[in-house]
């Protein structure tokens, strides 16, 4: 799902992303005058390459990582790669040393499972299974970039909607106000709309099929409910409230830094170094970082650096 969601998102924010690609990806954050930074220097002498997928969130995560590594004394080579398949391949072929992957993508796209047999301890299962490919998964972040249903902020408040169960109750009671805006993929996937309705035992009164980029602006006008990606910056921009998936129906897409086992063996301090960063990356935090890039037009590198400094994460 991740790769496709990324594609849809890339279309939605095409203008912004294109502009960023044109202006922002020249490794401009490579602060060559200050290779050592102020950190402990555990990684001095190391040259590491951080990769990213082709959408904002992945690039922000890569920039955060690059900044942390640089701060610890490493020489960082940033490469921006496109497409989930190619970035994983690049990692396996040692073209890059690490990138942020999602647990759901690992389970379905990399390990070849289906969305109907997702285990509860998804991260542990994925990390264990990927050992066979000699890829190590560091501790995952709490952030979970997956399908969610969102409503307009004031609508959520008026009707005290916080969870999907609340929404199901509301739609059952107000059958004329259960319109959902969603994109084709969500409407057709088993782990999308059809499964969601079954899991919560309700049915939306009408499904408005739109391009994903249009959904965010239509929630609260054409439809009360909308399919969103839980950490998309446009949630902030359009003042939407994301409903909690209280029955844990949607597949988890927690982000975790992945690298070859040999890299981790060579620099074991990487795990320790990244742990506090990963822990601080909640849905809220990453959503606001995504919004700064996609909505306010800031550069990923600047957003990453600012966030690390504001949260005192640069040791």
């Amino acid at each position: 799902m991740k790769s496709r969601s990324a594609r849809a998102r890339a279309i939605g924010a095409a203008g912004v992303i294109l502009a960023l690609l044109l202006t922002g990806c020249g490794g401009d954050s490579n602060d060559e005058a200050d290779p050592g930074g102020g950190g402990g220097g555990e990684l001095s002498g190391a040259t590491l390459t951080v990769g990213a997928k082709e959408f904002t969130e992945s690039k922000v995560l890569a920039q955060i990582t690059a900044e942390v590594l640089r701060n610890a004394g490493a020489d960082v080579d940033e490469s921006s790669l496109s497409g989930s398949a190619t970035v994983r391949e690049a990692l396996e072929k040692s073209e890059i040393d690490m990138y942020w992957e999602y647990t759901g993508t690992g389970w379905v796209n990399i390990l070849g499972n289906t969305t109907t047999d997702v285990p509860d301890d998804l991260y542990e299962q994925v990390a264990a299974a990927d050992e066979a490919n000699e890829i190590a998964w560091l501790e995952p972040a709490p952030m979970n970039d997956t399908y969610r249903i969102a409503v307009a902020g004031d609508f959520a408040e008026e009707n005290s909607l916080a969870t999907m169960s609340d929404a199901a109750e509301y739609i059952k009671a107000n059958s004329d106000d259960g319109v959902v805006c969603a994109a084709s993929e969500f409407i057709n996937r088993d782990d999308g709309l059809p499964g969601l309705e079954k899991a919560y035992g309700f049915e939306f009164s009408e499904v408005v099929e739109l391009d994903l980029g249009l959904v965010y602006t239509q929630v609260g006008s054409k439809c009360s409910f909308g399919e969103v990606f839980s950490t998309d910056g446009r949630i902030v921009a359009n003042e939407l409230t994301v409903l909690e998936d209280d029955k844990a129906f949607f597949v988890d897409y927690n982000a975790a830094l992945t690298m070859r086992q040999e890299t981790l063996d060579e620099y074991p301090s990487l795990a320790e170094l990244m742990a506090p960063i990963s822990e601080a990356l909640t849905d809220e935090e990453i959503t606001s970082l995504n919004a700064k890039v996609d909505v306010d037009g800031e550069k990923e590198a600047d957003v990453a650096k600012q966030w690390l400094e504001d949260n005192d994460l640069l040791g």
Binding site: S184, N188, D190, L210
Partner: protein, 259 residues
């Protein structure tokens, strides 16, 4: 080059052809039926998963196809009632000064990608659904009909018009009884072009909740199901060929005797 002359060069002229034989008339429907049959057998032979079953059941295929036909027919109807009178007006001497600007507007309508128009309507005006899609389709397809109407009227021999006037027919009478009948084949060729453009472009309506066969194609693309994509694409192509075939028959029937 004045716009009208440019338009004359670009206009799609109807192919001159003899009335078809019975076999000629039957070929296309039989061919299309065979295509549909092969598609059906192919899909039947596949092991469909839940996503494919959801997209490819009889009910959703019939409703999307019917919606597609509605989109095509309604938008072409509006194209005709906008473009034909406009074409007549723009070939009258008193509108000469507006000709350039109106043709430019029609050109812009066709130059701007329909998906751009649809997104603009959706984002800027929160305008979605069937009506919005029709607006986008009409903007895109006005030009060929407008152009062909103008060319059709302009190619009528000046001396015939003068003869008509000399016989005491009014200006309107000349238009109605001489110019328009003589222009009909070319106007119909434009309408046929507009119909085909609309069948193809209507697939984009799926992005703004207006349904149509685009819904099947997009479902196939977004879930990476080749069978679904193929079904949507083949049905759209069959529909386009069928509509072109029907328009061809309409041309044969409506063309004034002796032309």
């Amino acid at each position: 080059m004045p716009p009208a002359a440019a338009a004359a060069q670009l206009a799609m002229l109807p192919a001159r052809r003899e009335r078809r034989t019975l076999v000629g008339y039957l070929f296309m429907p039989v061919f299309l039926a065979l295509v549909c049959l092969s598609l059906y057998l192919y899909v039947k032979s596949q092991d469909l998963d839940s996503i494919e079953v959801r997209a490819l059941n009889a009910e959703s295929l019939t409703s999307t196809t019917w919606r597609h036909i509605q989109l095509t027919v309604v938008s072409t109807f509006f194209v005709i009632i906008i473009a034909v009178p406009l074409g007549v007006l723009l070939t009258r001497p008193f509108t000469r000064r507006y000709r350039g600007i109106l043709l430019t507007i029609a050109n812009i309508g066709q130059a701007v990608p329909t998906i751009g128009v649809l997104s603009l309507l959706a984002v800027a005006f929160l305008f979605l659904g069937f009506a919005s899609a029709v607006v986008g389709l009409v903007a895109y397809a006005v030009l060929p009909v407008l152009r062909n109407t103008m060319v059709g009227l302009q190619q009528v021999d000046e001396s015939i018009l003068e003869a008509g006037r000399g016989m005491g027919i009014s200006k309107f009478g000349v238009l109605r009884r001489i110019e328009l009948p003589l222009a009909v084949p070319i106007i119909l060729a434009g309408v046929r072009t507009a119909l085909i453009i609309n069948v193809g472009t209507a697939t984009l309506a799926a992005y703004i909740n207006a349904g149509g066969l685009g819904q099947i194609i997009v479902a196939g693309l977004s879930t990476n199901r080749l069978t679904v994509q193929l079904t949507g694409a083949v049905l759209t192509a069959v529909l386009a060929l069928l509509i072109d075939y029907l328009a061809g028959i309409a041309e044969d029937v409506l063309r004034p005797k002796g032309l």
